[in-house]
Symmetry: D2
Subunit: 421 residues, 4 copies
């Protein structure tokens, strides 16, 4: 059983809290920390609150996964809590780096929401601390765990896409934001950082070299003078010559929209269709498809899978530590975990997995067989185990941040800007 | 906490076992019954087996949801086990009715895999037993919990489709079946029974009146003389004049394919796109989309949601029983549970829910808020709570069976056959 | 130059008139016949009427293709007109057979709108007359010339679909019809006859053996007692075991909808997406695609291609006649013409053609090359030349009629009905 | 009858030659000019060559549209030919401006393939010459006549898209080009100039202000040092704040790919699906759609429509000239012609047209009606008449060129570059 503490009980924190409390076998939410009085306790109640309708009525700890969860206002108590094997950092972005460093120093494995840090110095501090402590350091780049993006990466790894030439990633939020609450740089640090990571994810082995950005306040033009940037297009030149475009807007009338594309000499992979379901309605106005309206709707599976992958890696790591197995470095957790995942379910990720699944499926109509194991195993982990090797680690987060910082600098200077090493 | 026993540890039993053991908060898998020696125990180990990699090593009961789960070879022990509030019947079809009757008599709520029975007499026995015992009786018609089918039904209930005129439902398995193991009638009783239920689900309030079926052994023609039917088209005339077509084939080279369509005077809803992910690959041969290869891949969410809905209903029912609230009848569980679900999450299903979700999503980029509750709640239950009212109960299962029996009779006689009341 | 007379100046006649007058190189509209006073003349003016805006103002015969076109009220004058090589019969259905017979006897090649006849006896009379006269006899089954249907047939001929098992064809009109003007049998004779032909087209070499039909007045229920049938589902069993479903409804709120599907042991071809253009609009209500609203919108290219194919065949036939080449039989015009078409453009139809086209396209960006010829040639003929071999001849029309008659009989008797030979 | 001379008989010239010779009622191809000995004559034969199979055998002038067509090696003869009302310039790009100027001076209306010129000075010379001569000046930006792009523009004009914020246009050629034959600047002047025009077309009333471009030789890297640019991404900032991205690559393994997108505050329009037909094949590898392989396949209708629109405008203009009607200025031909088109078919473009079409379509099943006129009229003109107002005139071509020049300068300097006025 892996004990996890959640730090931050806001929008993403609440989602992660539910995932930790209920959706992951072998995981226990042992603590929630939030400086706002009552916030941590309220979250714990919320994620265990379905107990209200159960036999026996409302009762703290009715759900075995969240009984004994501690509510802390002081995050220091998390570091001191011996039941905490790992932390999920979902506090506001400006606190991420310090929290991650402190967690690592306390020997806790770290899953940090993006951005991991707001400066390269801070990013380095986090990476160094994790390395020194020998803990895992994962960052919440959810696209990597979305089924279509992960499948695209497998096509790339299989060589079908070939050498990437043109890449594209875009993020559009459904709007309704409060301009007064958007810190400067948000569109680069918090929104497009997903797209910068995605471009790297789709161009493995290459690094961003130079960035040019155009950004403006087109959704809320009257806030332009106060520095709001709500719409941006960023061109990224990579070390292998490939050219990427990252694009973001804080408002799309049709909902939440995330798409990706990579064109290589072998072909093109296209991801993200934004449909709510496969239902189509044809009526007097034509053919209508409902569109997804929020990130937690579109990426629910990816959000769960990234934590499933993280906690599985923590469990593997901890088990190995106890048996004297050779520890792995924080920055190559992906490879190691993939190997572990392969051991667990008895066969490799990707194509092998699918072929095996096909054999299983082939048994067909109306029969009952015994012990499927492998595939359901993976599904229980949100589909993530097969993608474990794709998880973003500290180095990835640093690289995406470097692009974001260059993009912001490009807007300030009106020039193309080299990406810092 | 709802205690559930699983009866049958085959292909679907294993999937349901994992769902009960790991995927549903507030649910505990307390027993598995299977007459094959060692089968029940093996399933329990399989669903708890991820513990192997956890601190402490392999240990029975490492997962709090499955500790203390009993492995029974004799199903009588299930009826006697006081920890068992409800059973999931996933044994071979010919045992369904007897098991469901016995479970009801023992006071256990019943979720029965389709078909609930193979004769109308048996179906009546099951319904009567559930009614007499005052237990819930649900049947595993998964399409009702698939997001696109459920959304189609909401469109119908909202009046957008209008009065249905033409309906269609089809099921194609990926092939690879063993003709020797297909009992006569399988294509009607086990495959098309899904489609017959779907046609009714998409034409609420109407009943099938007359059926004409054409069927043949086109996949395995050399088995035709031994009575195999692997391909069938069934025309169903409904009491409101609507005409439905149900179509099945045991082999589609491209995988598992389930689709539905309803045309009313207001418009047409179309369901089922069979894509594995939203990834598209464009290469030298054109544009390629991977197709789903099995039912547990395409309907995983629906399989989970139907059990989430069932166990939530059990929890509600039990809670009300303890507080003296008025019991509901097995055959209108849907409405009652929907009301319960609405109470739980504080607002109604369907459109209201979506509008509320939209408001939530509207908060947008980069901010952290507190306490999402409702929506995540629903997601934790596999998206099923909102669809609870659509669950198939005993009467639905009986009606679908009546169509299946008429279809089989139509093939035998070469004539259109009236559907028995 | 092929001289063509148009018989009938109604809705389809007007479209065909424009095609003959303007859209086909090497074709001249030399006469229009319609018993309604002034109708033929009005059509001739309409198709030449764009001259109104040209230098010189309104002038009969401004367009070289339609100068000298004769307007006849008495169709006998068509038979006597030596400039008429071929006729296009677009009069009301009940006159088709007699007109086609008379045309053949006058030595005119015949393109007859569907249905070619309303009884098998009449169909035989037409076929016999054409055979005796040695004239071509084509029937207007437009799907055969729609690009997706023709491509499906190529896949079938290439063996990729394999042996058909399940087939489907549906036609839905956009509604707005006048129930008082619908003769009994229209849904079978005039609408579904397209689908019956399509099922045969997608199952080459097999013949319909038995038919079961369900039909009703669901769009205009108050006309049911007067014999209106506006909605129908027909199951067709074929000689090779394949089972087809043809479905029609006179009203779809979203427009004109024609789709087809064939599942074989090799795979499935799906045709007909009903989109007006490739434009997608994503707005507050979701993602919207405009749907086609009428047959002349959805099948304009197919309507043109079928006449292009016919007139090319007439030209070929006539040329061969003059050179003493061996005449072909009316009922195998398809094969002969395909050969002629292949000779013309120097390479075969189907895959070869596409491969050749690919090579041509490969020349790429920004360059100017000389004399593409072949591909444009084919496009000029409306894409039809490559499909010439798929054109429906008299025997095809008779076979489709036999299914339609069986379907009507099935509705009358409530039983499955054998298809007449 | 409008007499048109074609200048240049290469790849596009051949296509336009066929269109002029065969596909446009009221148009006569009266001359072809090409300096290569025999080239003009060969083209004339090719477009009339279908006569080969006609009665009477091969015969110059068998097709009434191309009899008497003159083959010139010396383009001066075109200027002197009184039968030539208008010219279509399809010579290599470097000759466009001089040819257009000479044509205008000779009083011929001009349709010039893109790019109209290679320098702004030349562009001004062309515009001035056309204005001085009072002739029409159109440029071949085909997207404006593609059905989905034109429909997108109507959505924009209707206000449904709202104020554009983000725009995108991309062009990918199918590859196979000869690097040695690509002049420097081709990707900007000949390929992306389409996309620059498209961005303007989708953002009506705004002008490009600043451009940043990244470009490289990624398809043929060994030609990089010789100045080849085969892959480029260009960011364009518009006067209304909108940000556009134009992207091109000379090789896509899956064929010819042109797409567009515009996001405004009201919604998003997406154009270009690249499918060859609506056929889908589902087989062992998944679901496959054929992709278009060349521009003349994907844009055939648009190529025809742009010439239909041009020649109709010429006819209108000439007719008005003769009646003393007020001449229009070359640069606002669009508006004028749209008005003319509206007069011609009796009702306005866009929504009205569609509503009217819907009424027509509503007549429905099985009936024959008289004289549809309007809609077929428009289709005969390749769908273009309704879009006539969207045609690109000289000012548009100059504006697109200014962006192309700025993009090339941006690549040279590595900086963002202001777009010249």
């Amino acid at each position: 059983m892996v004990g996890v503490a959640l730090i931050g009980s806001g929008r993403m924190g609440s989602f992660h809290g539910e995932t930790l409390a209920r959706r992951l076998p072998g995981v226990r939410l042992v603590a929630v920390a939030d400086p706002a009085p009552g916030a941590a306790e309220a979250l714990i109640r919320a994620v265990g609150g379905v107990a209200a309708a159960y036999p026996g009525g409302v009762q703290a700890g009715a759900d075995p996964h969240v009984d004994r969860a501690a509510a802390y206002e002081d995050v220091e108590l998390v570091w001191a809590d011996p039941r905490v094997d790992a932390v999920v950092v979902a506090a506001p972005a400006r606190f991420h780096a310090d929290l991650a460093v402190a967690a690592a120093r306390a020997g806790k494995h770290v899953f940090c929401e993006k951005p991991m840090a707001l400066t390269l110095e801070d990013a380095d501090r986090v990476i160094d601390a994790a390395r020194a402590a020998g803990v895992l350091l994962r960052v919440g780049f959810n696209r990597r765990f979305a089924p279509d993006w992960a499948a695209a990466r497998r096509l790339i790894d299989d060589g079908q896409v070939g050498t990437p030439r043109l890449l594209r990633s875009l993020t559009r939020d459904p709007g309704g934001f409060d301009p007064a609450r958007i810190p400067a740089g948000t569109i680069f640090n918090e929104t497009l950082i997903h797209d910068f990571d995605t471009l790297r994810f789709l161009n493995p082995g290459a690094e961003a070299v130079e960035v040019h950005a155009v950004a403006d306040a087109l959704v809320e033009p009257e806030w332009r003078d106060r520095g709001l940037l709500d719409t941006a297009v960023v061109t990224v030149r990579f070390s292998n010559g490939a050219i990427g475009t990252a694009e973001a807007c804080f408002e799309a009338s049709y909902g939440y929209d995330v798409r990706g594309e990579v064109l290589g000499d072998g072909g093109m992979a296209t991801m993200g269709d934004g449909r709510r379901t496969s239902l189509t309605f044809s009526g007097a106005n034509g053919r209508l498809v409902e569109t997804a309206r929020g990130d937690q709707e579109l990426f629910a599976d990816a959000y769960i899978a990234e934590l499933a992958s993280f906690t599985t890696a923590v469990a593997t790591r901890t088990a190995e530590a106890r048996t004297g197995a050779d520890g792995e470095d924080g920055h190559d957790a992906g490879r190691e975990e993939r190997r572990a995942a392969d051991r667990e379910d008895g066969h490799g990720a990707g194509r092998e997995e699918r072929r095996a699944a096909d054999r299983e499926d082939g048994h067909g109509a109306g029969r009952e067989e015994r012990h499927p194991a492998g595939r359901e195993e993976r599904r229980a982990a949100g589909g993530g185990v097969g993608n474990a090797g794709f998880a973003a680690v500290g180095e990835d987060a640093r690289a995406a941040l470097a692009v974001a910082l260059a993009a912001a600098a490009s807007v300030r200077t009106g020039k193309a800007v080299e990406v810092a090493k």
